[in-house]
């Protein structure tokens, strides 16, 4: 196991460098877990490695160089993670807290089941983006693929570009905003009128995403709001059942 490389960023801040070429994923996640609150970390040579920066419960500032693999920054409750590349399936799955930013594209199921935190994708996200979202925010500057927002229960999805087929199928309380075109709506989702509250909500997300995130083309006052039509909306599977 190689020693951590540290470099001085500022007299009071040092950056810990962890290389995927030298360390196993288990070792990297173990090192991250042991680092003190507030540490600044750079993960290098990612080359599509799965499960980087997962299951962390304290505040860290993590940057991943290059393209990362599946489940990047998943199951986390605290760190801010920036990927300077693209990521595979299941970005920030079940995120509880923290800002996860991807400067490239995200593959399928980005922010799946996220309970909290903010997931920002500067490029496109693939199919099933925000599937079963439970409270977090997913903001994608580009397009999202088919079945995005499927069965999403709470939280917000902002799509700067176009949405694929069956957007928001079987939606619950999540609201989806789309800057571009919607290829088709899923079962039980519908387009609703935009309110002042919606405009404020979108502005708030854009503020968090920042000016370099690729949302320049999004006009919060001219955006499509998609929400549940509440015809299939039923949390209690046993309600009104006869046996």
């Amino acid at each position: 196991m190689g020693e951590d490389v540290t470099q001085v960023l500022h007299p009071s801040v040092t950056e810990v460098v962890l290389s995927c070429r030298e360390l196993t994923t288990r070792q990297i996640n173990g090192r991250l877990r042991e680092l003190p609150e507030g540490s600044v970390v750079r993960i290098t040579e990612a080359r599509g490695t799965h499960n980087l920066a997962v299951g962390l419960r304290h505040r860290l500032d993590i940057t991943i160089e290059g393209n990362a693999g599946y489940y990047t920054a998943g199951l986390s409750d605290g760190p801010d993670v920036t990927v300077e590349g693209s990521v595979g399936w299941g970005l920030a799955e079940n995120l509880m807290r923290g800002v996860v930013r991807v400067r490239g594209n995200a593959s399928e199921s980005a922010a799946a089941t996220a309970h909290g935190g903010t997931v920002i994708v500067h490029g496109d996200a693939s199919s099933r983006a925000g599937i079963s979202l439970k409270g977090g925010t997913l903001a994608v500057a580009g397009d999202v693929g088919h079945m995005s927002g499927f069965m999403a229960q709470a939280g917000t999805i902002l799509v700067g570009g176009d949405a694929g087929h069956a957007l928001g199928d079987s939606l619950y309380e999540t609201v989806i905003y789309v800057g571009g075109k919607v290829r088709s709506l899923g079962s039980d989702s519908r387009v609703e009128d935009l309110t002042e509250a919606d405009v404020r909500r979108v502005r708030g997300i854009l503020d968090i995403a920042g000016r370099d995130a690729g949302f320049d083309h999004v006009d919060p006052e001219n955006i499509t709001r998609v929400a549940s039509a509440k015809q299939l909306y039923n949390f209690d599977a046993l309600k009104d059942q006869r046996y």
Binding site: Y70, S107, S126, S127, H146
Partner: protein, 299 residues
């Protein structure tokens, strides 16, 4: 699970390095398919008019020289052989049906893995590393290749059940996923006289595409017909002598990443299998859209 890899070289100067590119790619996906592995490689070394047969002998061994001599005498053409472990590449200038029939009589213990003007095919039980080492894949040259690592879910773990499947000369199919209506389509094809070697669901897709090509479809059209006829999850990679094509099912349930540069098109189930390729940092990397055939034709 299962893993798929493939590379189609646009830059001819890279052709001597085909095996060198493919071996790390397929080995990287061992985790998606640890029980068997196979590859189809395409090159231009077969003399015009000849066919090269990818053969596999029984575990008890095979006197390949005797088989080649006897075959050559029977059909009046010399048969050239190259033996690696239990595999033999036999090149002979004679119609496929004639050679297949003679081989069946001379050496019924031999399995025909594939045949073609350009394709060689190796597959076996074991990890990708074991299979590549056994057949010396790293040293192989050529202009394209496809590979598969198998985690069997629908049928037995044997060499015959492993991928690629070759339903026609120079045609190779690898599949990640599973088909739920394969038995229905198999019965229909059998009624039309199409033969099968295994009960593997992927073989049904391969034979179906082979049948569509026989009926006059282009490879792209034959693959689109799979979308209409088959129910299930699939990412398919199909290579022919001139073409290299991928397609995902309507739900895109199984992954695939494509990396394209001026020098090559490479595909893999997961990005990290592509990460060792030269120039990957400058490649256009994308996922094929569901229900779209992406194909590249050798010029």
């Amino acid at each position: 699970m299962c893993g798929i890899v493939g590379i189609h070289l646009k830059d001819p100067s890279l052709e001597p390095r085909l095996g060198e590119f493919l071996v790390p790619m397929i080995e990287d996906l061992t985790g998606r398919g640890p029980d068997s592995a196979g590859l189809a490689l395409y090159d231009r070394s077969v003399p015009d008019g000849s066919l090269r047969w990818s053969l596999r002998g029984p575990d008890t061994g095979c006197d390949w020289s005797a088989v080649a001599t006897r075959l050559g005498e029977d059909i009046g053409q010399p048969a050239d052989i190259k033996v690696t472990a239990d595999a033999c590449l036999l090149t002979v200038k004679a119609p496929a049906e004639q050679v297949r029939a003679r081989l069946g009589e001379i050496a019924p213990q031999i399995t025909v893995v594939g045949v073609g003007e350009s394709m060689t095919m190796y597959k076996d039980v074991g990890t990708a590393r074991q299979v590549c080492d056994r057949y010396g894949i790293e040293l192989a040259g050529g202009y394209q290749g496809v590979g598969h690592t198998r985690m069997a879910t629908e049928s037995a773990v044997t060499t015959r059940h492993s991928h690629p499947f070759s339903p026609a000369p120079d045609l190779a199919l690898v599949h990640n996923g599973s088909f739920s209506n394969h038995a229905t389509i198999r019965r229909r094809l059998e009624d039309r006289g199409v033969g099968f070697e295994t009960d593997n669901d992927s073989e049904v897709a391969a034979r179906y595409i082979g049948d569509r090509l026989d009926l006059g479809d282009s490879l792209d059209d034959a693959m689109r017909m799979v979308l209409k006829e088959f129910d299930g999850f699939f990412t398919l990679l199909v290579a022919s002598r001139d073409e290299f094509a991928v397609m995902r099912d309507a739900f895109a349930c199984k992954p695939l990443v494509v990396a394209e540069t001026d020098a090559y098109v490479a595909v893999a189930s997961e990005y990290h299998a592509l990460a060792t390729l030269p120039g990957i940092d400058g490649a256009r990397v994308f996922e094929p859209q569901p229900e779209e055939v992406h194909s590249w034709v050798k010029t």
